[in-house]
């Protein structure tokens, strides 16, 4: 490779304090591109079937694709491991860590083993060393980041866990660069904690080579010119999710956003009064873009009035709206206190929020009572939220049940509590088909082991786009004409979500391999066509738009095969029962709807979406796993045997 890639993989064994470096093989690059693709290929060799998430041999595989650190909007670090939900899955995070890893000379970092005592890992260019973290253990993520920067210089990038990860709480995650990117939905924080690994700090000074500087510089400038002249840039930056148009889209169908364990709605009038109309007065906002991001979707938010004036929290605007709604929070002060608590301690806010709401519903239904909750009266309000969060973090009493994550909490409570749990494969889905209608991101959440909740700018997540928007997306992503015929006319539907989802995922995974952010604000500047030009100019390797999509498809199939080898398959692809029940809003009942709101969605419709999806993917409708013909087409013959005869019996269904 003449550029784009740094060319090496760093292996670190925390138990033996050993390091090893291997060349990044061209063969690996050509088949799997980088990031998500190569991570999965490494995982296939490194994660033995049946490995427990907390086992020392469970590797944490970090990767940064060829676009990371060299292009606008390409900062994504991907992390693959056996997660506490039992699946091998990949988390994606922003910030500056991916760029720094590459600047230090590595495309991937593989961490195995368990240190005898708390440590942090320091990588300064080729020099990798393990350091005592006794002083940091017990500190939150803000304190840890500030301490590491004070010792190692502000130009370093870092990943750190909080007390939740240290205490092996399965709903914990890590953060990149203090709060520049959350990293590890599914429990990566706990996996780090199980290794006694408090943090990783990296500084790289080597530089990333470019194969054809002139062509590359032009596309770099062209993308930035497009960003600067994008008419919506300022709207997006000025808290776009509270801007009128997007706010109206998110509140249109239900007249609000889901609330109280997704049973009812937090009305838009209240959102307007408490949040939209007060943010300019009550909250100071500062952009916090990832490295290389010309748009910025993240903010440091500081409360500037009231008894909590000066409180700082980090959040994306849509998360503020959804969390306020779900937890029935009253104002900015309550909302920012919630974000402050979960973020600095390293708790997955979304999963925690739905676990808390679930507990409140169980309490209201008298499935649990004060004897179960250590005397607490549970309500959908701020006090209950903070009380339970504190108990979760301490793993204390009822808090320990929730802290153990969906699978164990359902088992420990029993009493048919699973019926009210809004979870898929032990992870809380971020979207709801009764709220935003049944689009591709929602189907992905039902099928994949903790899917992206961002859509890769497919128009189908934010409802109300017309059919032309889908055609335009297919043009941009270079979706083959044959597939378009199946997407747009098969079975007489105007749009076949099952078939479309396959192609959206392949597109997203191509970005995950390259390292491009999949938020719509960045995606709009990348097309199949310009990505081909960029890849060739950057790396010196020619590739076609079809091959890019094929690499995304290959990476996705390999992830499925990794989990097939663990015994997973068709019966794990499901939706929460709650999605099959109507949500109460505006005095009416709203069942899940198809994308164009022409009909209500039933269980059999969802089964059909899944069947269509499998068929489009070339997967066995019976097992839900890739057929040999597909594996052969993708040159993944080496996984055939494991897919056909999984090494393990089926894990317990959750």
């Amino acid at each position: 490779m003449e550029g784009g890639y740094s060319g090496k993989i760093l292996f670190i064994d925390l138990a033996g304090s050993k390091t090893d470096r291997k060349e990044l093989e061209v063969r690996l690059v050509k088949n799997f591109l980088g990031g998500f693709g190569i991570n999965n290929r490494l995982a296939f060799d490194l994660i033995r079937p049946g490995t427990k998430w907390f086992a020392p041999e469970n590797p944490i595989i970090l990767g940064a694709g060829p676009f990371v650190g060299v292009l606008p909007g390409a900062s994504k670090l991907v992390g693959t491991t056996k997660m506490p939900n039992g699946f091998i899955r990949t988390a994606v995070g922003g910030g500056g860590m991916g760029a720094m890893l590459k600047l230090a000379g590595f495309d991937h970092l593989v961490i195995t083993g368990r240190a005898k005592k708390p440590v942090y890992l320091k990588i300064f260019d080729d020099d990798a060393s393990i350091h005592d973290a006794g002083e940091l253990w017990g500190k939150n993520i803000y304190e840890t980041a500030d301490w590491l920067w004070s010792k190692n210089g502000r130009e370093c990038s870092l990943i750190a866990i909080g007390q939740a990860g240290e205490r092996l709480i399965p709903i914990s995650l890590a953060f990149i660069d203090k709060q520049n990117g959350s990293f590890g939905k599914g429990g990566l924080g706990a996996v780090m904690g199980s290794k006694n690994l408090k943090a990783i700090v990296i500084k790289g000074t080597t530089g990333i080579k470019i194969a054809q500087k002139k062509i590359f510089s032009k596309v770099f400038d062209d993308i930035l010119h497009s960003v600067k002249t994008w008419e919506e840039l300022q709207v997006v930056r000025e808290f776009s999710w509270f801007a009128q148009e997007k706010f109206n889209k998110w509140t249109k169908r239900l007249g609000g956003v889901p609330s109280k364990n997704a049973r009812t709605v937090y009305p838009k009038e209240k959102l307007k009064e408490r949040f939209q109309e007060t943010w300019e007065k009550q909250v100071n906002r500062t952009f916090l873009p990832c490295v290389g991001c010309p748009v910025s979707c993240k903010y440091k938010l500081e409360l500037n009035e009231g008894e909590n004036a000066g409180l700082v929290a980090y959040a994306r605007p849509p998360s503020v709206m959804l969390m306020a709604g779900e937890l029935n929070l009253e104002d900015w002060s309550q909302c920012l206190q919630f974000f402050d608590f979960v973020n600095k301690h390293g708790i997955d806010r979304h999963t925690a929020a739905l676990l808390i709401s679930w507990a409140v519903e169980l309490y209201e239904r008298e499935i649990i009572n004060q004897e179960d909750t250590d005397g607490l009266i549970l309500k959908h309000d701020y006090d209950t939220t903070i009380n339970l969060l504190e108990k979760i973090l301490k793993r204390e009493g009822f808090g320990d049940i929730l802290a153990s994550g969906w699978k164990t909490a359902i088992k420990r409570i029993g009493r048919n509590s699973e019926r009210y749990a809004v979870q898929v494969k032990g992870i809380t889905p971020a979207l709801d088909p009764r709220h935003l209608k049944f689009g591709t991101a929602i189907l992905s959440e039902a099928i994949n082991p903790g899917a992206h909740n961002a859509p890769g700018s497919s128009p189908s997540t934010l409802a109300d786009s017309n059919i032309d928007a889908f055609e335009a997306w297919c043009d941009r992503a270079n979706i083959p004409q044959g597939a378009r015929k199946r997407i747009f006319s098969d079975r007489g539907n105007s749009l076949n979500i099952g078939r479309l989802t396959k192609h959206v995922e392949d597109w997203i995974h191509a970005q995950d391999c390259l390292g491009i952010c999949i938020h719509g604000e960045i995606q709009r500047f990348y097309t199949g066509k310009n990505m081909v030009t960029i890849y060739s100019a950057l790396t010196g390797i020619d590739i076609s738009a079809d091959e890019l999509l094929k690499a995304g498809e290959r990476a996705h199939n390999l992830e499925r095969a990794l989990n097939a080898r663990e015994g997973y398959g068709r019966e794990y692809d499901s939706v929460p029962q709650r999605w099959l029940e109507p949500i109460s809003a505006k005095g009416e009942e709203f069942p899940a709807s198809d994308y164009f709101e022409t009909k209500n969605i039933t269980k059999s419709d969802i089964d059909r979406f899944i069947e269509d999806y499998y068929e489009e993917r070339g997967w066995d409708p019976r097992t839900g796993n890739p057929l040999n013909a597909k594996l052969k087409e993708l040159e993944l013959e080496f996984v055939m045997q494991d897919v056909k005869n999984p090494a393990l019996k089926k894990p317990k269904h959750i």
């Binding site: 650190g69 530089g207 500087k213 290389g292 910025s296």
Partner: protein, 79 residues
């Protein structure tokens, strides 16, 4: 030093994305390396924003074209 142009910079507007350093190093080092650029940035996430120029900076303005936050602006008319 380019006497006909100057770069006006506003640390309070700098979001810390490093695109200016990336583009500068691409132009003058032939590779992307923010730490080797003629304009270096301390990211806001780790403390106060800082913008510094090395002695080699000739005010070519390529960094200003990469800035989408209004922190770097090329002005004509001498230093």
């Amino acid at each position: 030093m380019n006497l006909s142009k100057k770069i006006v910079y506003h640390p309070e507007k700098c979001a810390g994305c490093l695109l200016c350093s990336m583009r500068c190093s691409l132009a003058y080092e032939g590779l992307v390396n923010p730490l080797k650029a003629r304009v270096t940035i301390q990211r806001r996430i780790s403390g106060p924003s800082e913008i510094r120029f090395t002695d080699e900076c000739n005010s070519c303005g390529i960094c200003t074209k990469a800035c989408t936050y209004g922190a770097l602006v090329l002005e004509k008319g001498g230093i």
